[in-house]
Symmetry: C2
Subunit: 188 residues, 2 copies
Amino acid sequence: MKFCSECAQPISQIIPEGDNRVRYVCLSCDTIHYQNPRIVAGTLPTHEGRVLLCKRAIEPRKGYWTLPAGFMENGETTEQGALRETVEEANARVIGLQLYTMIAVPHINQVHIFFHGELADLDFSCGIESLEVKLFEESDIPWKNLAFPTVSSTLRRYFVDRETDINNSKNILPTHVFDISIQDKLKL
Amino acid sequence: MKFCSECAQPISQIIPEGDNRVRYVCLSCDTIHYQNPRIVAGTLPTHEGRVLLCKRAIEPRKGYWTLPAGFMENGETTEQGALRETVEEANARVIGLQLYTMIAVPHINQVHIFFHGELADLDFSCGIESLEVKLFEESDIPWKNLAFPTVSSTLRRYFVDRETDINNSKNILPTHVFDISIQDKLKL
C-alpha cells in the first residue's frame, strides 16, 4: 500500500493514537487502512471412504493436489463459500457439512476452514482451476504431491479419526482447531 | 475505495476477466483490490458457572454488554487474537480454550469466533474499551442490554449446553457453526 484509497495522497506507516500496532495511515484525510487475515473456506468431500481431490491448474502449486477451497467472499457464509469453491473447482455437491478443521496460518495472514461432507452424487468434473478431479482411497493419497500444509494436515487427521470412528461406531467426526507455522511448512 | 493504493489513479468497479464478481480494479496498473470478510475473535470466559461480560466504553453499542472480542490481527492465530482481546478488554486470562461458536454474519462481511475457557484467576478489571467487567449468573445476564446478536446467541447456546452437560456429566461443550442474517439482527 503506497497511496490512500480515499484521497490518493501518499500513505504513512505509524502507530495511531490509542493503538499499539503500526498501521497504514493517511495523514492527509486521517483514514486508517486496517489489514486483517483472510479466510480460505473449503470442503473435505468423501464417498464410501474415498476422498475427492483436485489437481491444481493454476499457481500457486500448479500440478499439486488439493481439497477444493478458496478465499471466502464478502456477503456469504463460511458454508456458502466452501460449497461455492467445491462447485467451482470440482463441479461437485457436498451434503451434511460439519466443521472439521479450522487452521490458522499466521505467517501468511490466513485462516483455513474445512467442512467435512458426503458427495451428493458422483457427477463431478474439472472446474476451470483444476486439471483433474478424482476420488482417492487412503492408500493412494499423493502425500508428496499435496498443494498445501493445511490440506495434508486435514487429510492426516481425517484418516485417523475415521479409523477411531469405525471402531467406536459413533459416526461423528470431531472438530480440530490448530495452527500451522512457517516451521511446519518448511518441514513438509 | 476511490483510488488505487498502488498507483493513486482513480479506481473502477468491473468484473475482471475470468472472474464472476464486480471488484475494485485499477485500469492503470491492473491491480485487483479484493475485499474479504474479517474475523472477530473472542472468548466466553466462565468461572464456577458464571460468565464474564464487559460493558462497552466505545461505539458501536457503547454502554451495552459484550463478551471480550475484537478484530483478529495479521500475524496471529485465532486463539491468540481471542486471548489478546480478552486481556485488552477485561485484563483477564482464560485457559483451556475450546472453539465454541463460529458465526458468519454475511450482511456485515464478518465471521465471529468464540472460544470457551475458564478464567485462570479472578484478577480481572476494565481495559480501556470497557466501563465495567463483571461475572454474571445465568439469571442475571442483561439479555436486553447485550451489544451484539453473536454475543446473545453464544450465551443462549452456552446455558442450554451447560444444562445438558451437567445432566450427561460429559464436561465437553459442542462446537456450534451457524449464521446470523440481517433478519435475525432486526428481531433482537
